[in-house]
Symmetry: D2
């Protein structure tokens, strides 16, 4: 069984995924998408960047739009303390992986590091705080997105990625494997904060960011944003859904921002906080792992993702074709 | 049994209740309530009036706010044709009731009439048409109210009111009666358009308008407007609910506009189009007729309503006290 | 413009579509689908038939399952009075169309007739009444379907069908036409009861019943039945959706019963009662008329339908191919 | 400021609240309430006990109904490991508090302990696992409750309770204090699992259990159970709501089981996992902390709770009267 055992005394304490930075070609066009259509609040606007947060978020930003190449520039994780930051730096260095402190506006000490496959990571403990808009109901717009939930990545070597993040304290909740005599991990969902995932990996050309997942309170918010997008010029940005994933039980909608970065609006997963919560196994031959209701995903969903700046994309280890329609 | 038999060849063809005109003391304050908070679209603004319509309405207005005394100035009904207008005038005149043609902006020929208790009625066939906003999802706001549904009135003589509107072709769907040996009608719900009501009457000091009812697609829209009102300065305008009426099965919220006019946001009633659809009987002793879930209504809900200009309020025929809490 | 003018003094008064009868090969298998899965209430069970009604329906049946060939055996319409029945018989006979009184269990006098294309129609005024289950919330199951709403048919000659039912008093609310210099009607939605339709026609091999439409209170009921069907052995019965039609604004799910009869679960259309409510025009080149959100329908949805017993299927008049995906 | 600083290296690792045991006088009557009405799954039935779990729960039980006095017999917490159990026993003993290992069916080693006010606690690491019913949608019933979320207790000394559980690693998310020159804690919400609470305390005659909170996916599930309870003989069991708490943002309904134990069905709180997540302060003079929408709670809600067996109820430290209605 290729899912490694979870570790409960990790080298440093990752609390949760907390933000991403997207390179975008036209800040105003992206603001129209994220703020005017999806309903994100704008916390700060700079000449070359817009900082966004969702309804319940007190963190200054969970999405940074940066005037830059259309790449995903950092996957940001909140960690438990300033001491954890030093432990993190030490740990990456011991592994011979890049790790250095950088200045990031609105964040305290911030560590930039890379995982063994080259994915850029950003760790910090403190961030400027903003008002929660959760009870400013009059300001809710669009999909009324409440918070960032997870990032999902293509990796050329799922086993290597999962082994690395397991050492870091991430715990698997669901996984897909091939049906060989010697089964291989095809995709894994891993968490720190106690729901299905903070971080997921799927076999594919990578490393690339497949999507960020953002949480809404109910499926009605997702149906509503479908109607809004379809009638306000964002029809072509709707890529997949709405539907129900078998994996994670998520009710989902996948949309693409004007630069192609993918956002999953989702709700309806479950609590996984128990240390002995056993991961759920799915096989590539079960199409309901993808969509419980039998809808195929478009080819783009399997192939496209946001590259990371300066990180070479490699061919995936596994060549099997998943079965994706009933 | 005091519910009169329905009439299927009425003297003229009333299609449905279609609009009301409210006297308000401060147009901007009322606009903030109806447009900014509840989400009504403003079709036209005049120096002394604002015309509002709901999301799916093509009629130019379903609510007119008029700078005037805080009274309900007209209950508007769409009728089937211009010929029906003439038939209506003739019928009212034959009964010795007031009826005259008046000029009303954005409406075709318009007849002002009064019922035997003095309630001011307005009949018309044609009205200026506006765009339906039903599929302009990006413009939906507040409670996303779709359309006007009914008007509900206090009358000092329920039997007289019901008899009159039955002659006019309205058909009873539900009613409450006292439990005497000789039961009396306490309240009646009557329709033309095929759902629970266009027009309802309750025993009380009247004639007065108790409320207009406006329809939302789902209970979620009503829960949302509760959150919005409670956090944007309209907490005191929330009078009753949300809750479920036993009568009509409506999921409801009653709100008061800045001048005290009452609006019921509601959803979840049912089809009553069949000519042999038998009315449902409730008794004053069953508190679930009021709220299925057992919540009492505030005293204001039983006592307050919008008067009609120049119409004397009379003492009600029945003195019984309804049972209103579990 | 090929949409005929509505007629307001029809030869007899059709209230609404009220029921259908489906031939099914295995009554128990069909009961499992309609009652156990979708949640229909069983009003009566016979050796060769099961009578079903939805939550708010007081009519004894809105669907009859009959042990017989997998065909649609009758489209049932409630009419306004016993006198209307006689007028109906007279009218069909005058047109040289079949019309005879038959005995149907649980119905009063019942007229079987055919339209000019051969579609079997059933008219009646009175039917045995059953309890409404609307407020028996503890008994609601599955999709909590409230009532039958419409029937939708393939016709080889849309113009002929629409002309016929216009004479009968049906009024068009939305329509699709080709974009020729001389545009032709491709599909038309027509109503009697005041919402988007009781009856719709689409160009295609016919006459055949495309589907019956049944109404749920909210989209959440439709999402829920997706989850239920997908996990209780009915995944293959889910044909299309959930999604939003541009036409009618319906939130929809199409399912197929064990014999292939198609049922649309839907909600979210609008009021059309006004006599001057102008029909909405769509063109074959606008894919959003089909699905606002851009999802293509499967080929089966365009090609398959329930035949009527003994009625020859003819080639459609129009050969144009609609555009069905973004 | 009376909220103590959170501790991030607690003496042992509490994961979350996981179950309660209720003494009930009639097991069948209680089964009807929890299983037939609310929709709990029965995992095991014994002569003197019924074990229940909610839809997503893999734990064998989150509620145990025991034939016994109508008291709350244990508040159960999942902890991080078997080693944590030994650390827990040691820690309680060092404080001079009761702590002993007991046998509990379907659980591994189980520690019974008491807090300084006498509240009975139960700690364990392993429990028999059952199937998650999350994707067995055909079996969902009633309120479709997904999981236990929290327990809420009356304490005669809020400061003492909060100090104790802070030492144990619980972290405050919201609190109410009096408005004295020297403000006192009136109520505190504390968590381990990263949402608003696992455990809350309010000033009052205690220690007593005020309620357990159980989580539903959407407000629609709560509206539905209102309808079901009100029409299946459980109207009198509905104590308060539905409504929105200001504190925690919960959409709530409070119900009483046949023995008076209180259950809050709730949804809509938020993520609190960040170690620097600052608690929200409310004052006793703000009625919106109780209900955002202004509804008063019934007197029973402020006064009644489940006692713990053999634990004396003491008078509360604070005498102030909260303001509970607008």
């Amino acid at each position: 069984m290729p899912i490694p055992k979870p570790i409960f005394n990790p080298p440093f304490n990752v609390i949760r995924v907390s933000h991403v930075e997207f390179g975008v070609s036209d800040l105003e066009r992206s603001r129209a998408f994220y703020a005017d259509c999806l309903g994100y609040a704008v916390t700060a606007t700079y000449k070359d960047a817009i900082h966004l947060r969702a309804i319940e978020e007190r963190n200054h930003h969970s999405i940074i739009l940066k005037k830059a190449d259309a790449k995903a520039r950092a996957l940001g994780f909140k960690i438990g303390s300033e001491e954890d930051l030093d432990r993190a730096k030490h740990w990456f260095e011991k592994k011979g992986l890049p790790a250095k402190f950088v200045e990031v506006p609105h964040q305290g000490r911030t560590l930039h590091a890379s995982d063994p496959l080259g994915m850029p990571l950003e760790f910090y403990f403190s961030m400027d705080q903003a008002d929660s808009l959760l009870q400013k109901y009059g300001e809710h717009r669009g999909a009324r997105i409440q918070r960032i939930d997870h990032v999902n990545c293509f990796t050329p070597d799922v086993q290597a990625s999962v082994d690395f993040y397991t050492e870091l304290g991430f715990r698997a909740t669901e996984y897909t494997e091939t049906e060989d005599a010697d089964p291989k991990l095809w995709a894994v969902w891993m968490h720190r904060k106690g729901n299905v995932h903070d971080l997921a990996f799927t076999n594919g050309y990578g490393p690339k960011l497949h999507h960020i997942g953002v949480w809404t309170a109910t499926p009605m918010d997702i149906l509503n944003i479908c109607d809004v997008m379809a009638t306000t010029g964002f029809l072509k940005n709707m890529e997949r859904g709405p539907g129900r994933h078998g994996i994670s039980n998520a009710f989902f909608l996948y949309v693409r921002d004007p630069d192609g970065h993918r956002v999953e609006l989702f709700t309806s997963d479950y609590l996984t906080a128990d240390p002995d919560h056993a991961p759920v196994r799915w096989t590539l031959r079960d199409p309901q792992r993808q969509t419980l209701w039998g809808h195929p995903a478009p080819q783009s969903w399997f192939e496209e993702g946001s590259e990371f700046p300066g990180v070479a994309v490699r061919e995936p280890a596994l060549k099997a074709q998943p079965i994706v329609a009933r």
